[in-house]
Symmetry: C2
Subunit: 357 residues, 2 copies
Amino acid sequence: MTASPTTVLADLTSIRTRVDDALASFLRAKAGSGAARRLPEEVVTTLDGFLFGGGKRIRPVLCVLGWLAGGGDPEVPAPVVRAAASLELFHASVLIHDDIIDDSDTRRDRPTVHRVLTDLHRDRRDPERFGAGAAIVLGDLTMVWAAELLHTAQLAHDRLAAALAVLDSMRADVMYGQYLDLLATACPTDDLERALQIVRYKTVSYTCERPLHLGAALADAPPEVRTALTAYARPLGEAFQLRDDLLGVFGDPAHSGKSNLDDLREGKHTALVALALEHASEAEAARLRTLLGDPDLDERAAQDCREILAASARPRVEDMIAARWELAIGALRQPPYPAEVAGALRRIADAAVLRTS
Amino acid sequence: MTASPTTVLADLTSIRTRVDDALASFLRAKAGSGAARRLPEEVVTTLDGFLFGGGKRIRPVLCVLGWLAGGGDPEVPAPVVRAAASLELFHASVLIHDDIIDDSDTRRDRPTVHRVLTDLHRDRRDPERFGAGAAIVLGDLTMVWAAELLHTAQLAHDRLAAALAVLDSMRADVMYGQYLDLLATACPTDDLERALQIVRYKTVSYTCERPLHLGAALADAPPEVRTALTAYARPLGEAFQLRDDLLGVFGDPAHSGKSNLDDLREGKHTALVALALEHASEAEAARLRTLLGDPDLDERAAQDCREILAASARPRVEDMIAARWELAIGALRQPPYPAEVAGALRRIADAAVLRTS
């Protein structure tokens, strides 16, 4: 059986399905060996519930597209799918820890991992403390397993080494991004460059550029493919995060599955907030500074914030998104993109910019 | 210049120095690239302070001894030292998270990482929450950097792949050990097997067996070396942890640098506790159950615990340590240990069993 990129790309769902199959089979094996060694079942079942409770699999899909852009076999061999799947497992570890840090109760309309573990151990002396501690460990184990999923993907040794170099950058970048985010949270300023630095570490590199580079590295693609992928990924990643920031404040929770109060209550430092603090009237900026980061912010005060942000910054952020979308789309018109791969990347860019969740 | 194993082993300090040099040079490079990218300096300085604030470097030393046992070059090439050093960096990540989980204020007589970060950000709205969150991220970054230190050690690709297989087991084992420990903490029982299962995951595999196997894998040693190392490492690891459990209750904080109340207050499930609950009188066992895990346990009640534990279990644990020390030493008398390597491993076994800190 042969496949053209067209077949693979006509339906990105088939890639997602293969990624999910790789994840499920890895976790099944872990459940089996854990049971044989009388290890606690809840470790795998909790992770399984979290992993298959949702998620767009955007990083694995981009990894496979990077593989195809780099001239990889359109059939997408199993080791490449497994490597792509390892990105999703790593991402799960990041989210598990992120939810502890933010003390979030839900993600994707389901209880977060530390809440699940807390509920499972309600009869303990201090179930909240147990839940948080156990989730730190489960997040660590998930990170370790993500690496194992890649190491055991049966990649050629030189491809594995190339993949590890890309992942070392990606993983350090997202951690620095998280750290920058923590530092800036609850300290809103008009520093747009600072907001964009967080985006570059937390989203651009982690969600777009490195997953694409990983695929290209697996295909042993020449350096110009990597450069071309970067030209697409950087503006796309920024557009993606800027859209996310807007949804975090103006989004409809019924569609997005997440609160539109949390970012305001945390006082998340975003481009939206930086631009508002720069362009709003002095009185409005002062009001915004008072409200942002108030953990008890109510819906009425949140509406005040939204009005100030909408008037002073929202159109500017929409312009930034549009400009970045143009750049990303423009990059796809250059070689060396096969037409079908460019088409799929274009659809992803459209979805990232137009999405409502 | 040539070196015999004797030269290297006469002074294990020289191995520790080379490991520390590898760690320092890695962190210096991270500080440099971080500064160039305007990343927060405190990330590297905090990790540096923690890493060089203490630690016996037992895992890197065992890795180098595994290398020598496997017939590796007595000069110990730089890539092997770097791989050994990566174990210490991984260990730092485990300790950083462990201290958050246990809410510990100090380690090695110095403030824990989340306390350092809390103090650094005293002027924030919620410095404790910031410190814990930032330390979760810093622990994650440390784990990522530990992997990078190995990946960039300039190992041959097939040796890197062999090393990763050992590390995948080791890292998952310690996480399962942490999880088992959390589950059992504050729920003391007379289940000795359960206590020893925790030891096998948390200490035997992680502290002794896998570091030795890593060195052997780097040397491409035949399977019988691995088997021989296991015969030594398993009883040694148990003896090491059993001694640790005794020190945690009966140790002199002035010598050990750690509290002799914490294990009792946490209600840590150890072989010592399991044996006491099995062999003490009903009244004493009941008293122990009441006291263990009481976070407000005072020195007088702790003294009660110590007396019950000393009478009903301490000699039994000392017997277990002696039996395991015998087994470990006996294993060293078999081939394929070069005499000098066996001598060094013997000194480590003696130190593990006789130590007071």
